[in-house]
Amino acid sequence: MDFLTLLQILDTTVRLATPLLFACLAGLYSERAGIFDIGLEGKMLAAAFFSAAIASVSGSVWIGLLAGIGASLALSIVHGLASITFRGNQLISGVAINFLASGLTVLIAQDWFQQGGRTPSLGSEARFNEIELPFVDAFANIPWFGLIYSELISGHSILVYVALLAVPLTWYILFRTRFGLRLRAVGENPAAVDTAGISVIWLRYLAVAICGILCGLAGAYLATSLQAGFVREMSSGRGFIALAALIFAKWRPWYALFSCLLFGFFQALSFRPDVVKAVTQVEIPGQLLDALPYILTVVILAGFVGKAIPPRAGGEPYVKER
């Protein structure tokens, strides 16, 4: 395997890790505030459909992005209503959102476009295109770095860079700001927040809304950047993989980046069975390669990776006690 092939695999890794990273950070905000969200998948899917549909109709990817975020946000509010205001079961609400999104996207797609539940293929103005970073030519002559810069660092869509920047930003918000302190506190012990005179409900809605926006970005990336248009079930379990990555990351932003890249790497490998064969000298069936990220998910969810302590008030609706 030569250096260029490695870079290509890593490049694919970054592309595939991006939606996971958005969704993982989305889950991080929500779960850090004590609201478990297994509806990441559904929100992502809804956002994917609406961003592609509106981008296709309006011809503007930015309007599409807003529509995607709006759809995801709307589902977030539903989750918030069910689990914060009405103190319902957060898992059930999440499952309901997944089913809702799965069915509604196809139904509306069929009604609007009559293409068997997909949106029309998006033209380049309705997509996020790859952007060439400056200095690619200037660096081209530098050995190693020039290649890394042009193949790996440059040439992604804007959303990839947004996702990567969201990691340090999230870290800063979480651990260096008043909002972050309160957000973490409300996921650990909402009573402490309440007695300090801060609204638990408002904080949790805020967290759920941030989760919605990030899921919207994840979905829009899927349909308008990674691919050109919406197809049925295109999120294909990424919301759940993101949840596994979140647990693997122990609810920490930097760890989240690395665990998403790991999952992205496994997904990237399945695109290059030839490389896997060359490196391992073993013929690994393509299906097994395809299944790798999912197998990893199961292994992680089964708790084989050390002790991960979730936020202590996670999943529990807050009821003021006497």
Binding site: R176, T177, R178, R184, E188, D194, T195, A196, R322
Partner: protein, 541 residues
């Protein structure tokens, strides 16, 4: 040093720090507070005493903005104040230390202190400011806590200090403490009272809610008594007595001392030799316990919580493995293997009232009649046939037991969590005592139980003793051990430090043994070091 500062010396023109007028609050049909009026003068410690459910906590929740009163007015320093939420209470200078701490366990002390009272969107300046203030407060009031320690690494005594620091950081002038000593060791409680007196001398007003008469007598300047939602009396502490307060609380005369005849012990029932227990982390919890309990006597195990008493009960009760020898009526008891479990212990005549009734004694979501048979559910009288239980017989038996043990309300179909603490304990006690055991293990029989029920529970334990049964009593309440036990063994660090007769010892001597000091010859010099040893679990500035 501080007792001279009473409100008697103050001019009458000073407005009360808190004045409540005609406060009423109902939850559905239950009138939790009825026309409450109270005046608390600034710079005093004011006790509010009453049984569980008397309405103390509701009243304080109203003052802290958790509930809105149906009627009534609140005056803070003479000014009428509305307190719709906690924010308003904090703004009015009220700080509250709840019985169950409102701390974020995996946050540092600093982060907990600052939470909700940050100065700006960025944390750093607030944390730096809090760090300075904490150092000042630590010097001023003996409130040392390491600012960067995580809450979960602190002992409860230190966690409580963090709660007090939180209130002081928010510039509270009025500090409300709800049952603050429930979780503290005697020396931690003494330390708390020193802190409170220091705060009082600085002009802070302190409201202490408790059901422990001794604390009221020790630390307060004035005391109000609540019963069934009403304020029945407010008196100066110096002019009242524990007996009078108890009567005001319960509404009838209460025996504060247990009424019992001298023990007439028979033959030895329980013999423990060289009992050792190593926990899952490899720490030796019991380091060779030798003890003996005879029929017709109560052996009280005194000690600060966490010195092996729980492990002793667990091994004897059959749900922890150990090594050594245990004999009941001369029969060897297995300490490991398949004959070492709760059921085989019960078959040998050992009954157990566990320390933690919520986790070990009851299933809170189950009905009273189901709870009444746990552990004895295989008894033949509860079986209808080989496969089916006789629920009617069980309910019938439960109703009888509930009547004999005065469980209120006597409803067999009520879930355990809907009974008060005292009545839950009576259910456990009824289940265990009514099987007529040879040996009764009792852990913390009156923890979280109100005075009226304490009296009853103590009577039942003494009655079992008088039937010639052996009783092993574990309690962290020294008062309880002193009044109930016929013999006292003191545990420290997994060992028995010594045995005393209640008539021949006092709290000071036992307190030293509890701190691991056996040299009784130098009682005066040893007592101060003893207090420090317990007081200093290794965390401080």
């Amino acid at each position: 040093m501080s007792d001279g500062n009473e409100q008697g010396g103050r001019p009458d023109t000073v407005a009360p720090a808190i004045e409540l007028r005609g406060i009423s609050k109902a939850f559905g049909p239950v009138q939790a507070n009825k026309d409450i009026a109270i005046r608390v003068m600034p710079g005093t410690i004011h006790g509010i005493i009453g049984e569980n459910g008397a309405g103390k906590s509701t009243l304080m929740s109203i003052l802290y903005g958790f509930y809105k009163a149906d009627r009534g007015e609140i005056f803070i320093s003479g000014k009428k104040t509305e307190i719709p939420d906690s924010q308003a209470a904090i703004a009015a200078g009220i700080g509250m230390v709840f019985q169950h701490f409102k701390l974020v366990e995996n946050f540092s002390v600093l982060e907990n202190v600052v939470l909700g009272a940050e100065d700006g969107a960025r944390l750093k300046p607030s944390l730096a400011k809090a760090r300075l203030l904490l150092t000042d407060l630590a010097k001023e009031y003996e409130l040392n806590v390491k600012p960067d320690a995580l809450i979960e690494d602190l002992s409860v005594g230190y966690q409580q200090r963090v709660e007090i620091l939180k209130a002081l950081y928010r510039k509270a002038d009025i500090l409300i403490l709800d049952e603050p000593t429930g979780v503290l060791t005697p020396s931690e409680a003494d330390h708390l009272f020193r802190i409170l007196k220091g705060l009082r001398d600085e002009g802070k007003t302190i409201i202490l809610i408790t059901h422990k008469l001794r604390e009221i007598m020790d630390v307060t300047d004035t005391v109000s008594v609540m019963r069934r939602g009403e304020m029945t009396a407010t008196v100066k502490t110096a002019e009242t007595s524990p007996e009078e307060l108890a009567e005001l609380m319960v509404g009838r005369k209460v025996l504060l001392r247990v009424d019992k005849k001298p023990a007439t012990p028979y033959a030895s029932v329980l013999e423990v030799e060289n009992l050792r227990v190593v926990d899952e982390n490899g720490v030796e919890r019991l380091k060779g316990i030798d003890l003996q309990v005879r029929g017709g006597e109560i052996l009280g195990i005194a000690g600060v919580a966490g010195n092996g008493q729980s492990e002793l009960l667990h091994v004897l009760g059959g749900y922890m493995n150990g090594t050594g020898n245990i004999r009941v009526n001369g029969n060897e008891i297995d300490l490991t293997g398949k004959h070492s479990d709760g059921q085989s212990r019960r078959e040998r005549g050992i009954a157990h009232v566990p320390e933690d009734r919520h986790r070990e004694g009851l299933i809170l979501d189950f009905f009273a009649w189901e709870n009444m048979i746990f552990g004895y559910h295989q008894a033949p009288e509860y079986q209808k046939s080989r496969w089916f239980m006789d629920n009617n017989a069980i309910k019938q038996a439960t109703a009888e037991k509930m009547e004999r043990f005065d469980v209120r309300p006597p409803i067999t179909g009520l879930t355990a969590k809907n009974f008060s603490g005292g009545n839950q304990q009576k259910i456990v006690l009824a289940r265990e005592i009514e099987r007529d055991p040879e040996l009764l293990l009792v852990g913390q029989p009156t923890r979280g139980v109100d005075i009226g029920a304490i009296e009853f529970i103590h009577q039942q334990i003494v009655a079992l003793r008088d039937k010639g049964k052996a009783i092993l009593l574990v309690s962290v309440e020294l008062d309880e051990i002193m009044s109930l036990a016929d013999r006292i063994a003191v545990m420290f660090d997994g060992q028995i430090m010594g045995e005393r007769l209640p008539s021949e010892t006092d709290e000071r001597e036992l307190g030293m043994l509890m701190a691991g000091i056996t040299d009784t010859g130098r009682a005066d010099t040893a007592s101060s070091t003893g207090a420090q040893r317990v007081d200093n679990p290794g965390i401080g500035v």
